[in-house]
Structures are given as C-alpha cells and as structure tokens.
Amino acid sequence: MAEVPDDRPTPFGPDPDLREESMQLGADPEMIELRAEAASGRRDLELPGGDHKGEALEADAAATAEQKRQRRYLIKALLRSPTFMVGLIIVLFWVFMALFSTFITQSPTHTDPNISLAAPSPAHWFGTDDLGRDVFARTMAGARTVLIIAPLATILALLWGGIIGLIAGFWRGITDEIIMRLIDVLLALPIIITSILILSLLGKGTAIIIVAIGALFTPVVSRTVRAAVIGEREREYVMAARLRGERSAFVMVREILPNITQPIIVEGTIRLGYAVFTAATLSFLGFGLAPPSPDWGLTISVERVFLQIAPWTVLFPAAALASLVVAVNLITDGLGRTFSK
C-alpha cells in the first residue's frame, strides 16, 4: 500500500490505504451526524450508575426516531432515482420469470429436432435451438440459476470477506499484515487458475459453484471492508467504546459494522454483477452446470457455434444476461448516488 506521508484528507479519507473501488462512506455531513447520534443515543442506556429510566427512554425513543427518519429519507431518495428504479424493475422481472416462467411458457426441455434452428416465428417467439427447443422458454427459465447462484455467492463473499476485513482492519498490526499478504497471494493468482483448482477440488453442482464464486470474491471484499473499517476505527464512538472496555468483537460487530453497511452494500451490488458474469464464464469454460439447464452462460457456450446461421440462439440469452447485470449495476449506481448526496 502506498506510504504517502500526508495528513491532509485525500479524497479517500485520512488513510491513503483507502483506494479501493467502494464509494466513500457518507460524505454527507448530515448523514454522519444522524448516525452518530443514533449510535450514541443507544450507548447512554448502558452507562453505569443512576437510574435514568425516564431520560433513558426518551433518549432511546429519540435515537430510534432518528434512525427511522434516516431510513425513510434513504428509501424516498432511492424511489426518486430513475437509475435505481429502472434497475429494480428489470431485476424484479427476472425474479418473476425465475419463479414462474415454466407456468407461462412452453417447456424449456422438450426437444423436437425436426424444427431445430428455426428462426423466430409466432409459434416460437425467439426461435428454436439446435435440439428444437423453444429459445424463449429457455431464456426466461435461464434466470433461475443465475438468480440463485449470484446472490448466494455474493452473500457468502460478503460474509467471509466481511469477517476477514473486520479482523484485519480493526486489529491492524501483525494480524493485518499476515492476512493482507495471504490475500495478495490469492489475488496474484489468475482467477481462471483458482477457479479450475477450486472446482476440481470441490466437485460439481449448483451448491459447489456458489461456494466457489463466494470464495473467489472473498479476497476483494475483505480488502474493501478492511479499508472501510480503517476509516471508521479512529472515530470518537469507537474510541469511546474501547475506553469503556468493550470487547473487540463487540466493538467490531455492534459499533463499526452498522456504520459501514453502506460501502458493504455498494460492494455487494458490484460483486453481484461480477458474480453473474463469473457464473456465466465458468459455464462457458465447462465447469459447473449440467445439461439440460437453460443457464445463460451454458447456453451461450454451447450455441455459439451456430451464431452464423442461427444467431437468435445466442443473442437472446446474451441480451438477457446483459440486461440482468446492467440492472444490477443500475441499482448500484442508484444506491451510490443516493448515499453520496
């Protein structure tokens, strides 16, 4: 990490280590105050001595009210953001398709070689693939695997990366150094090699792919979380908690974590987009999903040989894949803009 002897705030906070891609934590001063108040409001209740029940209840109510106001403010802002809403609608469309497409479309697995590679027509809106299966049905059904794999893999990555980042960022020192070196090693290895090795180790199946992608993204997430934690640990409320003698785990989870949810959420949505992309690429390279899964990545990798004579077999799943990841990115963008207003 760059050792720049600079005590003036750079665009990325007091610690020049913070040059990751995550959006800056709460540049909005009003937001910082709201959060700090909410946090300190809670803490007053646990000061020893004096039965300040009445004041305590009032302080508690005030703090909760602050939090509520903060949340409503955020949600309203999000609903007003066009990028966020467009992204959300697209994602919800695919969620709907993932759940219900098989009830409304033709069968995605029924083969009919006599009409294979047929162009789009009223009978088959998106045409048919090389085995005569309806491309529309397969494209709609293909959302299912992606929407299962990507979010779960992202949650895993956030969980594991979050834990590692919290530990490294909070404790600094030798723990941090060791963890960061290991992370560096993992990041230095090409992703393709790590994927091959992880998947060969773990086997096949949807669950395995989720675990593998989660593991692949853990190092990057941990770097982001660590950076955010470093930014937070010098703040007063953290100092206060440590002076009070709180245990480290307590400080990390109850104090710091709630205040870094924004960059984590943003990082999560970024990772979600990459998870979709990575799942598709792994399918393309032959690792993971089994036929007759209509998964988009798998479909594209199998049907791409027909691109010249039957482009619909590739272009529709590709467009679907693109639309989902764009939608997720729009959500990220909307969140980022809202959080930094």
């Binding site: 750079t10 040059r19 091959i196 992309f277 894949l321 729009l330």
Partner: protein, 315 residues
C-alpha cells in the same frame, strides 16, 4: 519512495513462494496425472505407470517441489513433460504475446475511459453523465465470449474489414501486428471501459468538492486551468490504481479471447497446463503472471505517490 519500492520488492518474494506452493499442492487434486494426459485413455495402466516413473511424477510431493523449486530459482525451468519443449522460451513467448495484446488494449482503453470519466464527473448528474455511465457499465458485463464471437462474425467474416486471427504472420512489422490485434482488443475494451471510467469519475467528483477547488474558481482561475491543473491529476489517483490491478487480470484472464482468436497467449498456456498436469509449465506461467500483476501494482502505486505531492502543493 525508495523505502516503498524496496519494501514492496522484498514482499514479492514470500508472496511468490507461497503462490508456488499453493499451485503445487492444488495441482495434486486435479483429476488424472501427467502420464495419463500424455498417453491418453487407451494406454494400459502399466504404460502410464512406466511413463510416470520415467518422468519422476510418482515421487513424493515434497521431493518434487524441492527439486522443482531448486532448479527454478537457479534459472533451470526444465522441460515440459507433455510438450517436450523447454519451459522458459515457451512460457515467455506466450507471456510476451499476452503483454502485447494487453498493452495495446490499454493504449486504447486508458485515454478513452479517462476522458469519458472526467467528462461525466465534470457534468455530474447531467444527461451526458447518465448516458456515459450506463452505457459503459452495460458494456462491462458483456462476457468476452459473446462480444468476441459477434465482433468476429461481423467484422472478419461478413464485412471482411479485419483478419480472423489475432496473430500476424511471422516477421510482420509492428503496425501489422497491431492491425491483427484490433479485433481481440475490443472485447477487452468493453470490459474495462466502464470500470476505469467510473474510477475517473469518482476521483473527479471528489476533487471538485474540495474547498480549495471552489476557492480557485471563486478567485477567477479559468475553468480549463482548474480542470487540467488539479482535477485531472487527482482523478488519476484512483484511476491509476485500478489500471494497475487490471493489468494483472488482463494478462492472466484472457483465456476466452485467446481461444476465440487463436492467439497463443499465457492464458491458454495456464489452462492447458493445469488440465494436463504439466506442472513445470503451470508453475512458470502462473508465477510469471503473478510477477506481472505485482509489478503493475507497484508501478501504479509509485505513480500515485508521485502524483500526490503535487496535490499537496497544488493550488
């Protein structure tokens, strides 16, 4: 500065050692073995065992690693048991090819994405900003195997404007080599444009919010001077960092593009050697890619550090 460089170079050594150990250990768990990869599924188990013994592949893991490591650090990278060629020229040639492709792609990507990013940052929340952000983000998510195939078909087969492969004939002059690299560089552009442009945008936005920028504008400093003098340099900080980390990815992550365009790069070498249990080639190629990745990050950090004092003095 020198301390920074020295520390980082020193840190590379344990990182590489750890990486090589990891690869060796994990290569053990891949299905199959090198003898079977060479002889195929029709060979008798005795033939396979005999070949494995001849290649020393049946020695204990520790012995194999120690032998390999000992030779590697003295410059003897050995011979590929599968291809029967010396490892170093084979790996370095592939690495060089990938570096050229990645370098060319970066030459196309970096100025474009910086310009786009700074522009959208300067006109934050305008229609132009929205369009640039959304479209570049959309392009990042198109997998290379989709964009590559479509581009190949449209530009190389249908329009015949560009060649179908990425490798120019031997002895071709540099501009001809680059001509062949245009098509494979485009999917890479799609992937990176959005990412780097966004970082440039973020940097721009943050700098514009700085008080001293507002002061300069209020004092009457011409806008263009503000932009070129301060914004650009500050926007470079996150941008250069991201470029550094992407170089490593570009070098090692190009398997798909290399396959589609029949380009003999390091990505294919790594994947094939992994699947064939060709351990000397696998180790050499992965370690080389790791070295490139770490050097790229180091260079990026040096550039960032060089940029910073000017930020400090700036105004």
């Amino acid at each position: 500065m020198l301390r920074l460089i020295g520390r980082r170079l020193l840190l590379m050594v344990p990182t590489l050692i750890l990486a090589s150990l990891l690869i060796f250990a994990l290569a053990e768990v891949l299905p199959g073995n090198v003898g079977r990869s060479i002889l195929g599924q029709y060979a008798t188990p005795q033939d396979v065992a005999a070949l494995n013994h001849k290649l020393g592949a049946d020695r204990p893991l520790v012995v194999r690693y120690a032998t390999w490591a000992g030779n590697f650090v003295t410059g003897d990278w050995g011979e590929s048991p599968v291809l029967k060629v010396p490892v170093r020229p084979y790996v370095m040639a592939a690495l060089w090819n990938s570096l050229i492709l990645a370098g060319f792609a970066l030459i196309l990507i970096v100025p474009t994405s910086i310009v786009l990013g700074v522009f959208s940052g300067l006109r934050r929340d305008s229609a132009l900003d929205r369009v640039i952000t959304v479209s570049t983000l959309s392009m990042t998510v198109i997998p290379e195997f989709v964009s590559g195939v479509v581009l190949l078909y449209v530009f190389a087969v249908w329009l015949k404007w560009l060649p179908v492969t990425a490798l120019a004939p031997e002895g071709a002059p540099i501009y001809e080599r680059l001509y062949y690299l245009i098509l494979p560089a485009i999917p890479l552009m799609f992937l990176e444009l959005g990412y780097i442009a966004r970082m440039a945008r973020v940097g721009t936005v943050q700098v514009l919010a700085m008080p001293y920028i507002r002061t300069a504008v209020l004092k009457g400093v011409p806008r263009s001077r503000v932009v070129f003098g301060h914004v650009l340099r500050n926007a470079m900080v996150p941008t250069v960092t991201v470029i550094g980390s992407q170089v490593g990815w570009l070098i090692g992550g190009l398997v798909v593009v290399e396959t589609l365009f029949s380009y003999p790069g390091i990505g294919k070498v790594m994947v094939e050697s992994a699947l064939n249990h060709d351990v000397p080639v696998l180790e050499a190629s992965v370690l080389m890619v790791a070295v490139v990745y770490m050097f790229a990050n180091l260079v990026a950090d040096i550039v960032v550090a060089l940029l910073n004092p000017r930020i400090r003095k700036g105004g």
